[in-house]
Every structure is written in C-alpha cells, then in structure tokens.
C-alpha cells in the first residue's frame, strides 16, 4: 500500500467516524426532545381552578380550627376523579374566615390541632405551629398555608386547582 492511498484511507476512516458520531447525535437528539418532553409534561400542566363549597356560613359561625373534609371532582390524567382534602376552618368574625391547609410545610404530612396545647402538631418530624399557623418548633420552613377563600351568598368556598 502506498502512503498516498494510506493517507486517503485514513481520511476516509476519519470521515466515517465523524459520520457515525453525527448520525448518532442527530437521532439521539431527535428522540431526546420528544421523549423527555412527554415525560416531564405534567409539570407544566395547569389544573382547572374551581371554588369548592365548604358549607353554609351560618353553620360555621364562631368555629375555631374546625376540621372539614371535602371532595371535589378533578381531572387526573385520563380519569375524572374525586379528590379529597382536609382543612381547618376558623371564623374570624365580620364574615371572614381563615382556612389552614393541613399539609405540613416540611414534608407534606397532615398536621393535627391539639385543643389542649392550642397548637398544630405534625405527626412526622415534630413540627409544631401556633394558632396562627406560625412555626414554633421543629423543621418546617414556613407557616401553614392559608387557603384562598371567599364567601358568596352565605356559603364559604375554598379555591382548588
């Protein structure tokens, strides 16, 4: 084999190698976008906002940290499913209500109201919140979440997504 053809051959081989890398790259990219896109798409999906009925204001007059469970219909992937939630409702007078989410701001366990101590206690990692939902002990980084509410025609509603 002369050095000239040898040169030509190694040039050709270098081209082949680049070609293989290029084609692998093109196909991988063309696949990665739709595959990863489809997999992470739920993150960007926005739920439909709705107001859920928590009860008649008249019946909630003067309540303090009253546990209310409610269900609402929502789309869960390809099914319309009933979801259940639990909240604590307090009447602040003048027709305004505070509705605390029971979800601990640490890692999502459901807090319980301790009537004797007047505190919310998380059963998981020892998080404690005061009456106003502020953290007084344990690892939770934020106060309990206050849910958006409204009163309309004598009915208390909480906003759900």
């Amino acid at each position: 084999m002369t050095s000239e053809t040898h040169d030509g051959q190694s040039k050709r081989r270098a081209f082949f190698k680049t070609g293989i890398a290029f084609i692998s790259g093109v196909i991988s990219l063309a696949m990665a976008v739709p595959l990863i896109g489809s997999a992470i798409s739920p993150v960007f999906k926005k739920g439909q906002k709705q107001w859920v009925d928590l009860g008649l204001v008249d019946l909630l007059e003067g309540v303090r940290h009253k546990k209310i469970n409610y269900t609402f219909l929502s789309k869960d992937g390809w099914v319309e499913a009933n979801r259940e939630r639990s909240v604590y409702v307090t009447d602040e007078g003048n027709g305004s209500f505070v509705v605390f989410s029971r979800v601990c701001t640490h890692l999502g366990c459901l807090v319980r109201w301790d009537e004797k101590k007047q505190q919310f206690h998380c059963p998981c990692h020892g998080g404690v919140f005061d009456e106003a939902g502020n953290v007084i002990a344990g690892p939770p980084p934020r106060p309990l979440k206050r849910r958006s509410v409204k009163v309309e025609n004598g009915i208390l509603y909480v906003r759900e997504v």
Binding site: G19, S24, M31, P34, S38
Partner: protein
C-alpha cells in the same frame, strides 16, 4: 484530564481488545443487505425506548387502557409522536427481521458453522411476532379485542392441550382484565428480557463466527475486507438514519389507528388482525371442518420446524444463489405465497353489515324499529330458549 479518565478505564477494562475486535476485517465481498441486522437492532432499541416512555402513561386495565392510549395521543405533548414511532416501528421491525432472514436464506449464511446464529435468529423472529401479538391488545380497542380473541382461539385448536393453553393465555375463559395484564406483562417484561438475552447471544455468535459475507468469498477472502468499525458501521448508520427519517415522518403524518372501545357485544364489527398476521388469517379460510387444525397448527408448526432445522437439512457447500435452483424456487414460492395470502387477507370483503340487526334500546326508535321487528322477536325467542335451557 480526558486522557487521565481514559487511562483509568483502559487500565481496568479490556477496552482496547473490544475496540480491536470491532475493527476486525469483514469478508471481502459484502453488500448493503448486510446492514439489515443493524437496522433491526436499532429498531429493537427504538421500540424499547419508546415503549418505556409510553408505559409512563399507560394503565393495563379494561377500565383505563383505552382512555390512557387516547390521552397519550391527544393530550400528552409529543405523545402522538412517540406512540406513532412505536406503532410504525413495530411494523418496520417485522419487515426488517423478515428481510434479514430472507437475506440469510438466499446467501446460505445459515450453513455451518453458523447454525446456532441462525436458530437464535429464527427464535428472535418468532419473539418479534410475539411482541406484535401481545402489543396490539394494549389499546383495548375493537381491533385489539377481536384480534386477540381470534388469536387465542387459534391456540385453542391445538389437539388435546388447546383449551388449556388458550385459558392460560387468557387467564380464564374470556378475554378480559386478566388477559390484558397478562399481555401487558408479557409485552413489557417477559419478552423484553427474552429478546435482549437472545439478541446478545445472536450478536455474540455473529462476532464469534464472523460475518458470512457473500457466498463467492474464497476462504482467504473471509477476512480480507473493510473493518466493521468504522467502515461498515458508517454504512449501517446511514441506513439507520434513512429508516429513522421514514419512521419519524410516518409518526408525524400518518395517524395511528385507534378504533372504538372494545365491545364484546358488537357483532357488526369485522375482526381483522394486524397486517403481518393477515396471511395466517387468510390461510385459515381454506381449511374447513376437521381440517381446521391443519391451518391453525400443522402448517405453522411445520414451517417453524423446517426453518429451525434448515441448516441441518441443507448441508451442501455454500455456493452463489444462481447455483441453488431448489433453494431459490422454494424461497420464492414461500415468499410469494405469504405475500399473496397477505394481500388476499387484506382485501377479503367484510360481511354485509345489514346481516347484523341494529342495536335496539328501549328509549331509542332511531334505528328503524319497524324494519327489524321480526328479527328482534327472533332474538327474544332465542333469549327465552337460553333461559329455558338454564
């Protein structure tokens, strides 16, 4: 840095040996048909990857499967594309594996010492068909339900053990929830494990015995060609890219069929299998009464056994195709028969839908109650008869 990382791995793994192995020269005479195997391997990987992502949104239950598949097609971003690739990819895989097999037959590549490569290859072909059969039940549409019904009944015609086998496949007497989870498990766990073990074995044999090349290679030419890497792999890559572009175009522009929800009572539906089983569908029409078992069991079994034993039945020296008139004739007739049966199966006329009485519901009078009053009475009396019988 890059060099140090490379050195770390090279001192611990036989990477150079592997690299040298990939550079091993191929036989001198070879052509583009030798890319078919690489193309099939690529498709298998594509099916595995798209399948793994489709599974994120699938639910193998008759209550959910159809809605989930619809959700993938309609609502998941890129879902229709991924499903399209998986759907059209499955058809392409069947075609490519078949062409690959045909190439091996026509070039006599199955002959000694490559019998084991061939046998594993034939089993792989059957596994690919198994993937097809278990896969198209999953959307739980009409085609899925009815084709599976008929397919399992075919297994049911095996003498003595047929019913037993059919019940195992279905997980009971009828195609239902248990069948769906079974087929899903087979499709996504059992068969993938099997196929990757078999492909591994197949590739190991291919590398161990080397490519067979064209029959005209003289012994001294068997290692006298271009290296697998990068020369052959580049050609394979180009072929794979073309294949990928065609499939992606199909996934984008050709909608994947999804028929109505599976309805076991809908007798107006004409069940048809996926196109690659149409030849079998058509074949079954020619064997009537007690001969039925010839079409459902005997012929397929004989064909599979003959294929598996091919290297042991034809032990003559490898020679170019033009010197193998018998092989050429038998192969041509077989291919022609399969193609003809497939076309006939695809064209086979559907039954007059008027033979099926419209569904009557108490509230609705829109289906022409008058016209089929007689038939309804007949049906009623049939129902009564059934009750009497019970």
């Amino acid at each position: 840095m890059r060099r140090r990382i490379a050195a770390f791995f090279e001192s611990r793994l036989p990477l150079r040996d592997v690299a040298n192995h990939l550079k091993k020269p191929l036989p001198k005479h070879i052509n583009w048909l030798f890319s078919l195997g690489s193309m099939a391997t690529f498709l298998l990987i594509l099916q595995a990857v798209t399948g793994a992502f489709l599974a994120l949104y699938y639910s193998p239950s008759p209550d959910h499967a159809y809605d989930a598949v619809n959700y993938i097609s309609q609502e998941v971003p890129f879902g229709g594309f991924v499903r399209g690739l998986h759907h059209w990819g499955s058809s392409a895989l069947v075609i490519l594996v078949f062409l690959h097999l045909l190439r091996v037959v026509l070039y006599g590549s199955y002959k000694a010492p490559r019998e084991l490569t061939w046998i594993v290859g034939v089993i792989l072909f059957l596994v690919v068909l198994g993937f097809g059969f278990t896969g198209y039940l999953l959307p739980w549409d009409q085609k899925a339900y009815w084709a599976t019904m008929v397919g399992v009944e075919i297994a049911g015609t095996v003498p003595l053990v047929g019913n037993f086998v059919a019940n195992i496949l279905r997980g009971g007497e009828e195609v239902g929830a248990v069948t769906l989870t079974r087929f899903y498990t087979l499709h996504t766990i059992w068969l993938p494990w099997l196929v990757f073990m078999l492909v591994g074995l197949h590739l190991l044999f291919v590398r161990y015995y080397g490519s067979a090349g064209l029959p005209q290679n003289r012994p001294e030419e068997m290692q006298g060609g271009k290296p697998f890497y990068p020369d052959q792999l580049f050609e394979d890559a180009v072929a794979i890219l073309v294949l990928f572009i065609v499939l992606a175009a199909a996934a984008i522009f050709v909608p994947v069929p999804l028929e109505g929800l599976a309805d076991p009572t809908d007798a107006s539906y004409d069940p048809r299998p996926e196109w690659y089983f149409l030849f079998l569908f058509q074949l079954l029409k020619y064997f009537e009464g007690p001969l039925e078992v010839i079409g459902t069991v005997v012929l397929p079994t004989v064909a599979i056994v003959l294929l598996l034993l091919l290297p042991f039945l034809d032990k003559r020296e490898r020679v170019p195709l033009r010197k193998r008139p018998v092989a050429l004739t038998v192969t041509s007739i077989s291919v022609l028969a399969i193609v003809t049966l497939t076309i006939l199966g695809g064209r086979s006329p559907k039954l007059e839908t008027s033979l099926e009485t419209p569904v009557e519901q108490a509230e609705s009078s829109s289906n022409g109650a008058d016209q089929s009053e007689d038939t309804i009475q007949e049906e009623d009396s049939e129902d009564t008869a059934v009750f009497d019988f019970n």
